[in-house]
């Protein structure tokens, strides 16, 4: 039995729930992870990633010294290098001087628009704040974005338009509040495979049904595990959210179930919106979505008649070419019924990454400074010019490029240099063959990461960063709770905390640019960075390291005495009245046809995380070792594909080979592939059409064809693990 030296309390680095962890240490080595039972977020429970998925920290492929490519890379002919023999270990001074030299050279030659940065939803608030500060204050560019663009940009955009705020409105643990007047009695889960992607919130959802008798409505193309607990399952076709939810809105209005008082006092635009619903007849909805009119009616009545109705949603709403419209259609339901602004209700987009809320709050987006202050508003720019000691008019007032646009602008005259902190666009962007061509066009590429991932392999320089267990900082979870991340072990090799690398680099860039004053980079501890945030972002003013020592605070926290905000919009919406928007429906861009007869939808599985940089280098990979294509038994039979058989999947953009998993979890005509696996990358198939407003790609629907393949076409034909979980 191991005699523990120490136990460090911190926050899980995987999803947005923000589960509290205890890292158990022996000789500076993490040998076990548990969770404190006394925390109000996950109550001692964890999922497989949180409890067992930390060992990537010790993986032999960790980059532990700065690396420079042996063969100089040229724009247009950039190649991938995964093997360490293709890299030269260098000192921090050499690496950072090289990065500073090249970035400044390109900035001087081509100007601010030639530089771009991906900040990181896995890194801390402090890391993200200083990196966007570097690019904005030194390079005067707003080409700052991150993977939030690829997950909830549609939701963020819709919430900003309709409400004026973009975050989960309520607290997840309301689902299981012992007081029946403070928890939902009906809730909708849509576009979210919650049991796999937010497992601890799914536990609460199931408990809400099983222990407290709440009624669950699942609206999803797949027969997800939550359907076992649902009162109603509306199996819509991918991309038909708008007609289904608008159909529900129409029923609510026609049957007199509208919360008239709420609509009159808190919203605007209902009449025009109501008129726009004429086109959503039951016949039309059934034709485009496959959902039967009586199911729409039943769902509408159940939700509208609830005492407290809550809506939880995931990427199935936002990752569409009409992601903004899909989210607006949901927001309308909350407006019509008044299920917002009270405990047990709410509009709750389940954020994916551990700190995607925080990195967005910290200004990791091309349209906003920290605190969602628009960059094209001169008052905001003036505020940050003062905060960062910049001459008046110095900051760029132009909106920057988004994540996907940054790469599509990678050509002479466009973006020439990209700095990636922890991101892996070569796994997470749609239509990867196209992404690859863009990556190859870059003149200079830096990856700050733990590993050489699919994108880092294209880089000129790799800066070794540390994992969550090797640094101090804060993460902001999906329910806006700012929580303390603590250093438990010493950094591996020469790796350094991201914020230290960035500040060191910033000083070198500042010296080369010869600007008169300094924007300020001499922080001795991340708490000083958060204090700087608090001085300029009202939502974070009351958040200090001392106050979140034990339990995090939920933003907004207006001052040092304010106790945080468990649920939003009790009195009003940030934009004043909530606004209804008449919606048009457009089909997913690619519809199945004779040549490509199936719809592909992509997503994640319980055991893995996004591009797999962490989980594919963990014992988690032994539990889910290969990509699987989920296909309905009827389709599999028609194509002669047995469970476990190799299948070739092709779209108009690429093809991959992987094993079939024959399961009723998928619907007829639909197949599902997780996007974690580089050797069978789902995003080679996906389409790079963007939502015109949110600029989020349509990951959730494209057309594919399937054919039988040979076992030797699989990346690892010998790997196979029998699993019994649904």
């Amino acid at each position: 039995m191991i005699a523990e030296d120490n136990c460090v309390r911190t926050i899980c680095p995987y999803c947005g729930i923000g589960c509290n962890l205890e890292l158990h240490l022996k000789d500076d080595y993490i040998y076990k992870v548990t969770s404190p039972f006394d925390n109000p977020i996950n109550h001692g429970n964890l999922c497989v990633k949180g409890r067992f998925g930390y060992d990537f920290i010790y993986h032999k492929q960790r980059v532990t010294t700065p690396l420079v490519r042996c063969t100089p890379q040229e724009a247009g002919a950039r190649t991938q290098a995964f093997d360490l023999s293709e890299w030269r270990p260098v000192s921090w001074d050499e690496a950072l001087d090289l990065v500073a030299d090249r970035l400044v050279e390109i900035y001087r030659r081509d100007g601010a628009q030639a530089l771009a940065v991906y900040v990181c939803a896995k890194a801390t608030n402090e890391d993200n704040y200083v990196l966007q500060k570097l690019y904005r204050s030194l390079f005067r560019t707003n080409n700052v974005d991150h993977c939030t663009r690829l997950c909830h940009a549609g939701s963020v955009n819709a919430l900003q338009q309709a409400i004026g705020s973009s975050a989960m409105s309520n607290t997840a643990a309301e689902l299981i509040n012992p007081d029946k007047n403070r928890r939902p009695d009906v809730f909708i889960v849509t576009g979210s495979n919650t049991t796999e992607n937010h497992p601890i919130i799914a536990q609460m959802m199931i408990a809400a049904v099983k222990k407290y008798g709440a009624k669950l409505i699942v609206v999803d193309p797949r027969r997800l595990e939550l359907v076992d607990y649902a009162q109603l399952w509306l199996p819509l076709k991918p991309g038909s959210n708008v007609p289904v939810f608008s159909g529900m809105a129409k029923v609510i209005i026609e049957e007199g179930l509208v919360n008239q008082e709420f609509v009159a006092q808190r919203t605007e635009g209902l009449e025009e919106f109501a008129r726009s619903l004429d086109k959503f007849t039951p016949e039309y909805i059934e034709q485009v979505s496959g959902v039967k009119p009586e199911q729409i009616r039943e769902a509408a009545r159940l939700f509208a008649r609830a005492e407290r109705g809550a809506i939880y949603w995931g990427m199935g709403i936002s990752q569409l070419a009409h992601g903004t419209a899909s989210a607006l259609a949901l927001i309308h339901l909350a407006f019509l019924t008044g299920h917002i602004g009270r405990e047990g209700t709410g509009l709750n987009p389940l954020r994916g990454q551990n700190n995607v809320q925080g990195s967005s709050d910290m200004g990791g987006m091309p349209f906003h400074y920290p605190g969602y202050q628009r960059v094209d508003n001169p008052e905001n720019a003036a505020r940050w010019e003062k905060a960062w000691n910049i001459e008046p008019g110095g900051l760029n007032r132009q909106l920057g490029l988004t994540t996907t646009e940054i790469l599509s602008h990678a050509h002479p005259g466009g973006v020439r240099a990209l700095f990636m902190m922890g991101e892996d666009p070569m796994m997470s962007e749609p239509n990867l063959n196209q992404t690859r061509r863009h990556m190859q066009q870059l003149e200079f590429l830096v990856s700050q990461d733990l590993f050489i991932n699919q994108s880092g392999a294209y880089a000129d320089v790799i800066l070794p960063a540390v994992s969550f267990a090797e640094k101090d900082g804060t993460f902001t979870n999906t329910e806006r709770r700012v929580q303390r991340v603590r250093k438990a072990i010493e950094p591996r090799g020469q790796a350094r905390p991201d914020w230290q690398i960035i500040c060191d680099l910033a000083c070198r860039i500042e010296a080369r640019l010869g600007r008169p004053g300094s924007a300020g980079w001499d922080y001795s501890h991340p708490s000083e960075i958060l204090a700087e945030v608090g001085r300029n972002v009202p939502d974070y003013t009351g958040v200090t390291y001392e106050r979140i020592e034990k339990i995090g605070l939920q933003t907004p926290v207006w001052d040092e005495n304010h106790t945080g905000t468990p649920f939003l919009f009790a009195e009003s919406f940030p934009r004043g009245r909530g606004k209804f928007y008449p919606l048009d429906f457009v089909l997913a861009v690619e519809q199945p046809d004779d040549e490509y007869p199936f719809i592909l939808t992509t997503g994640r599985v319980l055991e893995h995380w996004h591009g797999g940089t962490m989980t594919r280098r963990s014992q988690l990979d032994a539990l889910y070792p290969e990509a699987l294509l989920q296909i309905h038994p009827l389709d599999a039979e028609m194509l002669g594909i047995a469970d476990g058989a190799p299948v070739c999947v092709a779209s108009r953009r690429g093809e991959i080979t992987l094993r079939a998993q024959v399961t009723e979890k998928s619907s007829v005509g639909l197949v599902f592939i997780p996007f974690h696996f580089a050797e069978a990358a789902a995003n080679l198939l996906t389409i790079d059409t963007l939502d015109p407003q949110a600029l989020i790609p349509e990951f959730k629907a494209c057309a594919v064809k399937l054919s039988q393949a040979r076992p030797d076409q699989l990346a690892n034909p010998e790997v196979r693990l029998e699993r019994g979980r649904y």
Binding site: M1, R51, Q61, L623, G724
Partner: protein, 224 residues
Amino acid sequence: MLDEISLTIDNQVVSVSSGMTILQAAQAAGIYIPSICYHPACKSNGLCRTCVVEVEGWRLLAAACVTQVGPGMVVHTQSERVLRSRRTILELLHSAVDLSEAPEIQQMLKDCAANLERFPGAERREIPLIDDNPMYVRDYAKCILCWRCVQVCAEDAQFAYAINFAGRGFSTHIATFFDRSMPATTCVFCGQCVGVCPTNALKPRREWLLEKGLIPEASPADKE
């Protein structure tokens, strides 16, 4: 709100709300009652009987973790009858189960001056360790059948229902359905069971490897 009631525990008058158990009331009053199967995150089942107390006027000893307080109740947690009973339970456990990695139970054995040789020649639960998945090992020779793992796998947390009791009498043990290997069950490897195991019968596999002096295995060779 539930009514406030008064009762006496070990000659101390305690005021608590009426829905509480004797164990909770004692905790609130700073009185320690040893317990094994009880866990604040689990529904109490009164299985291990370590927490038994004597209630005046009651024929049988009561398990404090499941017995609700009542007005005027007079409870003794250290009476001769309680101590003898508790000692016997712990001695029986010790005679059959490997408690070497259960420091809390070892402390209880010490506290009640248990006779560790009281049941010489008792049949021991000697079950081979099961190493059938990448995440945790199951060493049921250390299992005292507290049921916490079964409960958190079911309604107390995960709703996965991968494990349950199997067998009868002395052969009772925790098992998967049809003794399937853990990956082939509905297990989602959340490890809630590992988190509540009081005896280290369930242990993270990496911790187990580290104890054996094996450098934790690197994950399967990266495919890049």
